[in-house]
């Protein structure tokens, strides 16, 4: 029996561990342009999950900011760049009868004081993190995704720009607490074009 156990266990262990990653899927979310109000750009807000330690840190950050403390975001980042690995998958389809040029994008909402370097048409308060451009024939669809490496790279760039005073490693810089998943028509007013998104949030390690 020991001999058999020693043979079976190496096969069993990867299966067990594969099922124990701290990852969770969200969605599917549907976006359509032109939207109900005939906008060329629509977006869906996605907030990252906060555990109790992040909630505690959020309160400490708010207290620090209220007290006029220094480097509050560096000391209480709430979420760090390396806390989550994100992957966004999508299907984009042109359900209209004419060609459509479409941008599918990830972004973040900027504060009143910020002027985003790259704006989305019709959304002045959004900064782009990553974007894909598609030219879809009538009735065509495409399946793609934003890789976790690309999202993390964009997140590091933003964190470095927003918090130049922070001394920690890039993965420990204050990270995003939410994303915008967006869809923008780039040519005329064909359509409708619709996208279905899912988000994979991987906290790494064990659940």
């Amino acid at each position: 029996m020991m001999k058999i156990a020693s043979l079976v266990w190496p096969l069993l262990l990867p299966l067990l561990l594969a099922g124990c990653r701290a990852e969770r899927y969200y969605g599917p979310y549907l976006l359509q342009v032109p939207g109900p109000l005939q906008q060329d750009s629509v977006a869906h807000s996605f907030l990252l999950p906060l555990d109790q330690s992040a909630i505690d840190e959020q309160q400490q950050l708010e207290q620090c900011l209220a007290d006029g403390g220094e480097d509050c975001n560096c000391r209480f980042p709430v979420l760090r760049v390396g806390d989550f690995s994100l992957q966004v998958d999508y299907t984009l389809g042109n359900t209209g009868s004419s060609e459509a040029a479409v941008m599918i994008w990830l972004g973040r909402r900027v504060s009143d004081q910020e002027i985003p370097p790259q704006q989305v048409a019709g959304m002045a308060d959004v900064e782009l993190l990553a974007e894909h451009h598609h030219h879809l024939l009538a009735g065509a669809s495409v399946r793609m995704g934003f890789a976790s490496e690309d999202i993390e790279r964009a997140e590091v760039e933003i964190a470095t720009a927003l918090h130049p005073q922070c001394q920690q490693d890039s993965t420990a810089l204050p990270g995003l607490q939410g994303l915008l998943l967006g869809l923008t028509l780039e040519s005329g007013r064909p359509g409708p074009v619709e996208a279905v998104f899912s988000v994979l949030v991987d906290a790494g390690g064990w659940p």
């Binding site: 079976v8 594969a18 899927y25 992957q87 299907t91 998104f197 899912s198």
Partner: protein
């Protein structure tokens, strides 16, 4: 998918090959001492099994068959009745609309139950039932409700046929097990070849 299936098949073949190993010269005397008139031994059993597993219903439409493994401990109260505890695990690839990108999910089941046995010489037929917990992870089947929201209370039912080898205490079985969640979606069905050993009372 292909790798996982071949992994399961490999484990299955290993078990079958080990069970079919020829008796070595040094073991012949022991075999001669076996009481072949009593092939079934009552006692504490340990067993391990492997085989394919699939989901029935809505979950089955969104997933493919995959490999599964099991480990069990049983204690014979009578010749015809045993109590048992088992842990069953398996992996299935997804076959659902994109997104999310294709992936896999694991099913873990921990069960306590009873096994009814009908002895037929060196063979037996058995049926079993039990309750326990089922855990499906991660929640990649996004369009299916009540599947992967943490640990769920589960029931199980199954049966099979066993064969008591000439080596006293060592047995083989082919069995199936269905496991559903009391408040959840989908029934997980695994079929496997099991190799077990019973330590006599």
């Amino acid at each position: 998918m292909a790798v996982r299936l071949s992994t399961g098949s490999l484990a299955w073949l290993l078990l079958a090959a080990l069970a079919g190993q020829p008796v070595r010269a040094g073991e012949e005397a022991d075999l001669a001492a076996c009481d072949t008139s009593l092939p079934a031994v009552r006692g504490l059993s340990v067993s391990a099994g492997t085989g394919p597993a699939l989901w029935a219903g809505e979950v089955g439409e969104a997933s493919r068959p995959g490999p599964a493994f099991s480990l069990s401990v049983a204690y014979d109260l009578f010749d015809w009745l045993a109590v048992e505890a088992g842990w069953h695990t398996g992996s299935n690839d997804t076959a659902q609309p994109y997104p999310p990108a294709p992936g896999s999910f694991a099913t873990q089941v921990a069960l306590l139950g009873m096994k009814l046995r009908w002895l037929l010489g060196s063979w037996d037929l058995f049926a079993r039932g039990g309750v326990g917990f089922r855990w499906v992870y991660p929640n990649i089947l996004l369009r299916i409700e009540n599947l992967a929201e943490g640990t769920q209370l589960a029931w199980s039912a199954g049966g099979g046929v066993g064969w008591y080898t000439p080596i006293r205490g060592l047995w083989l079985a082919a069995e199936s097990l269905a496991c559903g969640a009391i408040d959840g979606n989908g029934i997980w069905i695994s079929t496997r070849l099991v190799l077990g050993y019973t330590f006599p009372l």
